[in-house]
Symmetry: C2
Subunit: 409 residues, 2 copies
């Protein structure tokens, strides 16, 4: 959690963390800024509070962080732009020289952020030339950075926000199921009151209205995929397809509170009836889902849970990534991922590694699935859970699991 950053910085001998300015949303910036939205620079020295440096126009927003806020002009940015008018690289060099001198930034610095790469790379090269040996930009293994490690556990404030977005997302999922059940079956498809086909685009529109009513954003979109599409895990579904009776519908919903925390959940439904093969796959997935919940506990490697699920599926005759690594049939992904300001973050559940040990404060999905594109179906069930301070697995998602939604004819 955020309180671990100083310890993590000490362990990795990092003297400072640097988030470059940028207009896009940046979860690193949001995290260090305690949720305040701005496009400025954030600098955290080890054992010091982060400080924010923003364009003067953003000073009020930045102060919502509760952190020290400086403006660009506190370090002479406007003046440098005039004196170095034809030397933009010189502006960068001189400006950072002032900032780093004033704030005491030196040594091993980690540059983080979701930011414009070409601009950041140019700035880094300028700073390397400007500061020489006094400053080294260090990189870390992806998924093992200091932020990945901090994100891996949530503090009480974060858990409260994650519970709230879980409650609201679950309400949308339940309402979608209830709304689907108000449709009729006719000639093998679901139809509206006027007899016209109910299409995937109609469903997505209705879900967006439900999300809106719950005050949720869907910056990453959603998946509502049917039949063969449902068997390609990240296919988002085809808007103009009518909903067919007996087809598996995989509905994966991962919205966010505005500018903040995500939830992630999936239900698979069949309208009218479930074909025996889809029902059998669904039962196998639900077994894996229950076994995973029973198994997840502090001290266990997440990889062990992933391999247990692979073995369970393989024993039932399904290929998995454990012994058929590039398979597109059967169980083709990993069981879970952590979730927070990023829809995917640590802890991950890799098949071939034990580098994530489950611990109190983890918030992660559990999402077994089986996929058969050639046979035209896929199923997945997903809830988000946390390991609370008592070490218990607490399911944050609250929504029934019934496969079949009955429609009137």
């Amino acid at each position: 959690m955020k309180a671990d950053l100083d310890r993590l910085m000490a362990e990795r001998a990092l003297d400072a963390l640097l988030i470059f300015p940028g207009e896009n949303e940046d979860p690193y910036r949001t995290y260090l800024s305690n949720g305040a939205l701005h496009s400025g620079l954030v600098i955290k020295r080890r054992d010091h509070t982060p400080v924010i440096i923003v364009n003067d126009m953003e000073r009020d927003e930045a102060r919502h962080s509760g952190l020290p806020v400086y403006t660009y002009d506190d370090f002479g940015y406007g003046e440098l732009r005039r004196t170095h008018k034809d030397d933009p690289d010189g502006i960068i060099a001189a400006w950072y020289r002032r900032i780093f001198a004033e704030l005491g930034v030196a040594g091993k610095v980690g540059a983080y952020g979701v930011t414009d790469l070409n601009t950041a790379l140019r700035t880094l090269r300028i700073l390397e030339r400007t500061f020489g040996d006094a400053l080294q930009f260090v990189t870390e293994q992806p998924r093992e950075t200091i932020f990945d490690r901090a994100y891996e556990t949530k503090d009480a404030d974060e858990l409260a926000r994650l519970r709230d977005v879980a409650r609201r997302t679950s309400a949308v999922m339940r309402a979608t199921r209830e709304w689907l059940a108000t449709h009729r079956a006719a000639e093998g498809i679901a139809v509206k009151a006027d007899g016209s086909p109910l299409r995937i685009g109609d469903v997505k529109r209705h879900v967006r209205a439900l999300l809106h009513a719950q005050g949720l954003e869907d910056p990453e979109g959603m998946i509502f995929a049917q039949g063969r599409d449902a068997a390609v895990p990240h296919s988002r579904g085809t808007d103009d397809e009518p909903l067919r009776l007996g087809a598996t519908l995989v509905f994966d919903l991962f919205p966010r509170e505005p500018g903040g925390y995500f939830h992630d959940m999936t239900r698979t439904w069949c309208l009218g009836y479930a074909p025996p093969e889809a029902q059998a796959a669904y039962d196998a997935v639900m077994t894996a889902f229950s076994r995973s919940q029973e198994m997840c506990a502090p001290g266990l490697s997440s990889g062990q849970v992933q391999r247990m699920v692979c073995e369970l599926f393989e024993a039932a005759g399904h290929p998995t990534v454990l012994h058929t690594p590039s398979t597109t049939d059967g169980y083709v992904h990993s069981l879970a991922h952590g979730i927070g300001l990023n829809v995917h973050e640590a802890p991950y559940f890799p098949t071939f590694s034990d580098r994530y040990t489950l611990q109190a404060g983890n918030v992660f999905t559990i999402e077994p699935g089986l996929y058969y594109p050639e046979r035209g179906y896929g199923v997945r069930v997903e809830d988000t859970a946390c390991l609370n301070e008592a070490g218990d697995l607490e399911m944050l998602t609250d929504c029934p699991y019934d496969l079949v939604i009955h429609l009137e004819s």
Copy 2:
């Protein structure tokens, strides 16, 4: 426009453009992928069609681009992950070696994208070590990159989408004004039918519902700021404030079609009446707004228009960034910015530079404003315009400019 990329690459001696994989939204990736949403790698060699390399699960989505699509495993990613299990840097080196050999990537390469900086920097350093002199990653001046230059003009497909998002955004702005006018005035504030105060949070909720009904997203939020907040250009407004009669309300709306193009517009309103000082500032802003429209034409430097507005305001006694560069009173920003897949992009309208020459295909805002935080008011008016193929300034925004919204008592 996109068709200029090969010419721009030749001018700058760039052999290839590289967009790294990443889960976040990336306008560079969207642009090169013709709007297809995926988290993969995009590589464009000079005089070749871009190619997309995605995780197998995203292959269907990536194919919506109409471009050649490869999967990670086409270059042995899964196999490398097994053979280099304890050497993640080695996986990156070997995988890119296969990709670059197969696709013929060498020479001067520009790395672009809005991406995870620490990860991208690590990858770049690995590639520099792996390829030695055969590959150089070049950086460009921010706001002058090959993409900035391409974004600067829009092709017919892009203009059609920008006109459509303009139409929908204008409808939201007009509907907001009409809805505000249905409220009553009581004891110096606007009240709802039940007599309770109408607050900024209520307005934003209503606007979000209107955006939703128009199928628009607001990934960057909106500004609805009153009085002193309205005088700090990027202050977003305070949700629990009741709307006060006679206060300036600056409503800046910059939504986006899902995953695509932005619109940007601002109106300033006073409920009930306008105090003489606010009315005078508004009149001055409207004069600057009209003069700017008359002046914008192909061949002119955008800086000339910005300086004309500064001089106009200074002649009326307002400080501006022309002669009072760090002022927070008066005219404190630049007149305009281009808009497209980014809410701010080229052409910019810098005060002290003539590096942007207006030309057919530009799409940009025009947004003069005057700000007096100590006196508790700010005003801004903004439309988005394009210079069409005939060289005419075509206003894309369609919404009245009346300052005062009359309320019944």
